[in-house]
């Protein structure tokens, strides 16, 4: 069982909080909204085979929240600089939801830095007729119902939060949603991404919950069509958060793909 080390690394004056665990080839994991600063069985399973770096995005978790940080370009440069600071010439890149969008962008700009790419329920694309759900318009009560096929599974996340200070959690959530709004309020996707994905030539796995009500499987298919070397895995009885809702199956799919 790998021990998890926590570190703060300064990247162009942005204090970035990371959880690091495991041995082997480096794997950078980029989290989704509401899922910062977590170490779930999913992360642990990956860390049994790879050296997992799981940073909190700027504005999320324990990372700092610079005023000027407000665009996808800022995220792309931030993570490429993180790789430089960690002295990692190339990595396996795994991203979920918002983190999946960032991962797809990094892959289209810096394909040489990525050995294999895994996109899980990733945002970022516009698919005509299948708009991404406006998460900012969902009430906190409704959010787990829409994100999960079985909302009870959301308890796994709550169990890792300090529920003794609800106000602190609300403010943390507000801060993270504010950073997400900076990226995705006006447009929950990047119209340029579809054209750019032709550059992401690395072997790619697209993983999606069959009943994803945030980003529908039409987006999974679109990613698969646009990324030259991609294959698709759809998970049954699963909503937008496969890493929690079908953790074991998701992990097995990813490990099988990465180990090939």
């Amino acid at each position: 069982m790998s021990n998890v080390i926590e570190e703060f690394i300064s990247i162009s004056n942005v204090e970035t909080h990371l959880k690091i665990a495991g041995q082997g080839s480096p794997l950078l994991y980029l989290h989704g909204l509401g899922l910062s600063n977590l170490w779930l069985p999913f992360h642990q399973a990956l860390a049994e085979h790879y050296k997992v770096y799981a940073p909190d995005h700027p504005g999320f978790g324990l990372s700092s929240n610079p005023d000027w940080f407000d665009s996808m370009e800022d995220f792309i440069i931030h993570y490429v600089e993180l790789l430089d600071v960690l002295n990692l010439s190339s990595i396996n890149l795994v991203g979920h939801s918002l983190g999946g969008w960032i991962a797809a962008e990094i892959a289209s700009f810096f394909p040489d830095r990525i050995n294999k790419l895994v996109l899980i329920a990733a945002g970022g694309l516009r698919v005509a007729g299948s708009p991404i759900t406006d998460i900012f318009a969902l009430s906190p009560e409704l959010l787990p119902m829409v994100c999960f096929e079985d909302p009870n599974k959301a308890m796994v996340i709550a169990s890792q939060r300090d529920m003794s200070n609800i106000q602190k959690l609300i403010l943390q959530d507000y801060r993270e949603r504010t950073m997400a709004a900076k990226l995705a309020w006006k447009l929950g996707y990047n119209p340029k991404l579809a054209r750019r994905l032709r550059r992401a030539c690395m072997p790619t796995l697209i993983v999606w919950g069959k009943n994803d009500k945030i980003v529908s499987t039409a987006h999974a298919q679109q990613y698969c069509n646009l990324i030259p070397n991609a294959k698709l895995a759809i998970i049954d009885e699963c909503g937008h958060v496969p890493i929690v809702e079908q953790s074991e199956q998701t992990t097995n799919l990813i490990l099988e793909f990465l180990n090939q």
């Binding site: 407000d70 900012f136 318009a137 009430s139 106000q167 507000y174 801060r175 950073m179 709004a181 309020w185």
Partner: protein, 380 residues
């Protein structure tokens, strides 16, 4: 002699014809309330009636009339307050026309606001008051403007408009959100240095400090009296300690629906259903629509969470009266309650009005006439 209080008649121009099962059917009067519920034939009559009410208020002696901007809601049907102001400028000869206000961050081209206010000011002979607001949280959904940039856009649009009104053009304006190579508006406003600016708000530290810094009247909107007192105290303190002057009553304004009738009992009976339309239907909004991410600072959100303040649509009629959101009663009661503002709180501008929610025309007229005749003279 200076008046103890200036009176402004405020209209929201609501669309009151919501279905009886409204609360069962819809979770919000804003953003998502289907516009199939809007009947333009009824709207035609409403607009004309509401404009007549504002004209009548000016004739009855109100110092000014107020319009404001809201989008995609039955709460208020003035997406462009400047259009209504343009009509009022011609029908009202002496009173001020206060636009409280244009929601600056919602507009990608705030130079248009500078131009329209300047036009109105020139046409009206300098009778325009120009309020600037950020708009409600809901309007960031309706206009798809990023709430995380709301405050920055507000400050920047404010600076642009003031410069456009006061600085000789053409000049360039380079901001983070707004950029113009040529700022050179025709016409320039008539009032010097520019039309008065009012800042309506709910009492955040940031807004009060901004108002005190520029000596703009701060207009407290729909809030309990304890909050109004705190906001005025803060304004005075910041004015004195940070900017070295004493805030005057004409810098402290309050927007409070007021209703007067022969007795307290009659006033309550007449006002209640229509006031409750305003707070329970007009302001029926889920919290997450009110506070989209980044719309308020974390500090403001923290103080709101700790305040225990109820959402508008959960307040009872009695709570609205007791907490000072509204003033309802006989002329003597209304005078007594307003005197708290002039005597204790040293606030000198009432943004009131006789209309609320679905109040019928005859009741509005009665309320308006009685207020003008029996309440207003007391403060002259």
């Amino acid at each position: 002699m200076t008046k103890k209080m200036e009176f402004y008649y405020f209209h929201l121009m609501p669309y009151p014809y919501l279905p009886p099962d409204f609360h069962k059917q819809y979770d919000s009067t804003w953003i998502t309330l289907p516009n199939s519920l809007y009947d333009p034939e009824k709207g035609h009559k409403l607009y004309n009636r509401y404009i007549d009410e504002l004209v009548k208020a000016a004739e009855l002696g109100w110092d000014g009339v107020c319009v404001n901007e809201h989008h995609q809601t039955a709460y208020g049907t003035m997406p462009s307050p400047n259009i209504i102001a343009a009509m009022l400028v011609h029908r009202i000869q002496k009173a001020k026309i206060a636009i409280v206000g244009n929601a600056l961050p919602l507009h990608d081209d705030p130079l248009r606001v500078a131009e329209e206010i300047a036009m109105l000011d020139v046409i009206s002979g300098g009778r325009i008051i120009s309020g600037f607001v950020r708009g409600t949280g809901m309007e960031y959904f309706s206009y798809n403007i990023n709430p995380a940039h709301s405050r920055d856009r507000f400050y920047e649009a404010h600076d642009l408009i003031i410069q456009a009104w006061t600085k000789a053009g053409p000049f360039a304006f380079e901001g983070q959100h707004y950029n113009y190579r040529y700022v050179n508006i025709w016409p320039r406003p008539l009032q010097k240095p520019h039309p008065p600016i009012w800042l309506p708000g709910t009492g955040s530290l940031e807004t009060i400090e901004f108002a005190a810094k520029h000596r703009y009247p701060f207009m407290m909107v729909f809030s309990p009296q304890t909050y109004q007192r705190k906001a005025y105290a803060l304004y005075r303190q910041i004015a004195e300690e940070k900017f070295g002057y004493q805030a005057q009553p004409n810098q402290l304004a309050f927007a409070i629906p007021t209703f007067v009738a022969e007795t307290d009992e009659i006033a309550r009976k007449e006002a209640e259903p229509h006031v409750m339309w305003l707070f329970h239907k007009g302001l029926h909004v889920p919290q997450h629509f009110n506070f989209p991410p980044g719309y308020v600072t974390e500090k403001s959100l923290a103080s709101l969470l700790g305040s225990g303040i109820k959402p508008f649509h959960k307040l009872t009629f009695q709570e609205l009266i007791d907490q000072g959101y509204i003033i309802v009663g006989s002329p003597a009661t209304v005078i007594e309650k307003l005197s708290i503002y002039t005597e204790e709180m040293k606030a000198g501008i009432l943004i009131g009005g006789a209309h609320a929610g679905d109040m019928p025309e005859d009741l509005v007229n009665k309320n308006m006439e009685m207020f003008a005749k029996e309440v207003m003279p007391h403060f002259h």
